[in-house]
Amino acid sequence: MAMHRGRGFASINYPIGMNLGGDPSQALVHSNPDGKFTVALSSIDLGQGMKSVTRQIAAETLGIPVADVYVDTADSDTGPHCMGSFASRGTHRVGNAVIQAAQEARAVMLEAAAEELEVDPADLVTDGHGNIHVKGAPSRSITTMAACQAAQFKQGRTVSGRGIFLIPLSEVDPDTGEMTPVSCFAHAAMLVEVEVDDETGEVSVLDMQSAYELGRALNPKLVEQQLIGGAWMGMSHVLWETTEPYYPDRSHGPVDFNHYLMPGPGDLAPHHISVLERPAPDGPFGGKGPGEMCANPVLPAVANAVYDAVGVRIDELPITPEKVLRGIRANGGARPKMRLARTR
């Protein structure tokens, strides 16, 4: 009886946003009396960081520090419509709506500043630290707070903006499936190393090497948490989880976390992530959405690694020790393939 190592590879792409479009999101942005900004949404923060990424997008667009922006979501009395947080649509759709709303508010802020400085608004720039100044003449400046206060208490303007992002719904041809599913795709490749015990059938994931291309990483820490968590979920899907262990038979369905199996901290493998950023032409600052796709390459990569290690193809998930052992026995023993051996 022995332990066998193997490596498996998979590569995927992932559609960003609701398939076929037709899924609008809106945003409202306004300045408070002292030049701080509120972004009103009805989008949902599931822990993925919806509030944080839209806050950065609003700050970048307005040209003010992120600390001067607060995102308020989701109250149906105050937040404008959002389709919801699913289908990797949050960053892409809501982010674009926030940009549009923030651009409108910024234009008013600059007009107000121009009136105070007695210059043309087209000559003004923001420094991102709370100041507006004449291009090339930093001394002729006004703070964003002073500009917003002048607008509201002197000039009688609302420093506010409305935004919506909608990709119109695509038709689907019933006969050919012709359609415009989405406007951009994220990408990933994954190489997994496993160790398979041919006595118990247990599979351990030893190492994961990945590359994820997800448009611009708007917040690298939020990206990192998604990729690490998502890969964990992929590993869990392929080797542990199911609500129906003997599908399609419904027996032995787990009802709590004692029986619904998932990898624990000791099962985690080192994950070496490389992030590539090819901006999406229609994404907010080129962002796509890393949330869903990061789990997907892990499933097939592990299945392919198990085959590489012991020569057993398991095409029904999850890959349980029982299935591995039955496969090894059917083959008359482990048959390592070593097709992706390290060459250097």
Binding site: T180, F185, N304
Partner: protein
């Protein structure tokens, strides 16, 4: 460990922005780490009532009688709800998108089609009292034969799971009992391929497993409105669903959410909000309806199982000439969102590869199990498992390095995809190369020098000279209507203009298509109206019933 490989696509980005690209700490982190962020379940009103459902112990059964008299006398019971208490006791989630027929009751009145289906709801002073009263509801069942396997469900004589879809299949566009993808002619290509590689793949049902189970708390609000604190992933989606089922103007509903303890797709079904609000309406008191962990795992909709058959025709040098899919999504007893996921999955085929002939028949199948719903990667994760496990078999069959095989077949900028749109903004080749380099896998010179920016377009931008189409699975008795018809025309975003794009015909040459009366070439379709789909999603219930994308005649 994470690294950002800024050298890739550097000329497509401006990396000198003030806030974008910075690892800014989350806005809500202080509340989260100190345990003070308010979730739906933190709105524990004085006098809060608790709702628990009476559920079917059978996979499939007719309801002869429900006797609630003993339950009503149990301590703490304030009210027992039955199906006829629900103003509109039939819904399909995607009616908000004008897609599909209403097929699922809130509380079933005539029959149940899965183990765990709710038939009555107890509203009691405490959760323990509600649980005790659930046990006192007596239901007379007439057990019916059931079917659990997707392919068994399609056999003649299989039990009918959901009467709205008597063949156990969702109907697409009022026209076919499956979603088709037809691009080129796979059979012709199989005949000239050097290798045929076939496989069968099974994706298992999986629980979203959020830390916070799904739920809602509703309460009467001043001025004849109701407030609802909810864990939903789509605030207005749930609000619209509640307005429809309660036949109530949406202006009388005030939904609050936005901070959710994990969703992963499992919190879009809007099962809790309508019942919690109905409880508040009928008792005049705040009501909470939430799943316990057992319900979350066995009654809450999981990621559905999928079964895929893939057949590839491959040339000796590793080029995939044709790929054919037959897919079965296990929707469980009702549609929920599986029908939508299939169209998404079909738009994704054949994966990130340029294959000149692609064919798919994908079925949304009803079985006597918990309805399936969305989960991270919905419509894609299962078929990606199938595709990539299959790619490994193809690599072995032709004796190629598995990474080299992917790069060889990878889609590039300007390639025509099987859904007849041009690829752009591709990056699969680069991801493969980076991983090969990190993993010490030697690639051929050809694989190393490939890029997503080059090698695409030209011949690869052309639509197939001939596409084989068919009328297999045609249905009658359903009115036409496309998923998209109510939402306007086909002028969705087109791929960015590329040099090759102008040379590409708008559609597969029409003289080669068999007559398909309902078909409208996208080029001649009217321009899209501005966002009508969203309008319908925000209005009251009355409009929904008349807007279904297709109806039984």
């Amino acid at each position: 460990m994470i690294e950002f490989r800024k050298e890739f696509f550097a000329n497509e980005r401006d990396d000198n922005l003030n806030e974008i690209g910075k690892p800014t700490r989350r806005q809500d982190i202080l509340g989260h780490v100190t345990g003070r962020s308010p979730y739906f379940d933190d709105h524990l009103f004085e006098g809060l009532l608790h709702i628990r459902c009476v559920r079917s112990p059978h996979h499939h059964a007719r309801i002869r009688r429900i006797d609630i008299s003993a339950a009503e006398k149990m301590p703490g019971v304030v009210r027992v709800l039955l199906g006829n208490d629900v103003p509109l006791n039939l819904n399909t989630l995607l009616s908000l998108l004008d897609f599909g027929l209403d097929d699922e009751p809130v509380l079933s009145e005539t029959k149940v089609a899965y183990k765990g289906e709710p038939v009555a709801a107890i509203i009691a002073e405490s959760e323990a009292q509600a649980r005790a009263a659930v046990k006192m509801v007596k239901v007379e069942w007439e057990v019916l034969p059931h079917v659990l396997d997707v392919e068994d469900a399609l056999k003649p004589g299989a039990p009918v799971v959901c009467d709205v879809y008597p063949t156990n299949k969702f109907i697409y566009h009022g026209k076919f009992d499956h979603q088709k993808l037809r691009y080129g002619d796979v059979e012709e290509a199989f005949a000239r391929a050097d290798h045929i590689v076939e496989g069968r793949y099974q994706m298992s049902p999986i629980e979203q497993a959020p830390m916070e189970t799904c739920g809602a708390i509703a309460a009467p609000e001043v001025n004849d409105r109701y407030v609802c604190f909810t864990s939903t992933q789509g605030l207005f989606f749930s609000l619209g669903t509640a307005a429809k089922l309660l036949t109530m103007p949406s202006s009388r509903l005030h939904f609050v959410g936005g901070t959710v303890g994990g969703g992963f797709g499992g919190k879009v079904d809007s099962m809790h909000e309508p019942l919690a609000i109905l409880g508040a309406m009928l008792t005049g008191r705040p009501c909470k309806y939430a799943w316990d962990r057992e319900e979350e795992m066995q009654v809450g909709a999981p990621r559905g199982a999928e079964r895929w058959y893939i057949k590839d025709g491959v040339a000796r040098d590793g080029r995939i000439l044709a790929r054919k899919f037959t897919g079965y999504f296990d929707s469980g007893a009702y549609t929920r969102l599986s029908s939508y996921a299939i169209i998404k999955g079909v738009g994704h085929l054949p994966g990130p590869y340029t294959i000149p002939n692609v064919y798919a028949d994908v079925f949304c199948v009803y079985t006597n199990r918990t309805p399936a719903t969305a989960m991270r990667g919905f419509g894609i994760t299962g078929v990606d498992f199938a595709i990539e496990a299959h790619m490994d078999k193809v690599a072995e069959t032709v004796g190629m390095n598995p990474i080299g095989l992917r790069i060889l077949n990878s889609y590039r900028d300007g390639d025509m995809k099987a859904h007849r749109r041009l690829a752009k903004n591709c990056a699969l080749v680069e991801c493969c190369q980076v991983v090969a380099e990190k993993g010490g896998v030697a690639l051929s010179q050809e694989s190393r020098s490939a890029t997503s920016l080059t090698g695409g377009g030209g011949e690869r931008a052309r639509l197939p000279a001939r596409t084989a189409t068919d009328q297999n699975g045609a249905v009658s008795g359903f009115r036409g209507g496309n998923y998209a018809r109510k939402g306007g025309g086909a002028s969705g975003p087109q791929p960015a203009a590329m040099p090759v794009a102008a040379a590409v015909p708008a559609y597969a040459s029409s003289q080669q298509r068999p007559a398909a009366p309902a078909y409208q070439p996208s080029a001649t379709a009217p321009p899209a109206a501005p966002a009508p789909a969203a309008e319908t999603a925000r209005h009251g219930a009355l409009r929904f019933s008349s807007l279904s994308g297709f109806r039984r005649r």
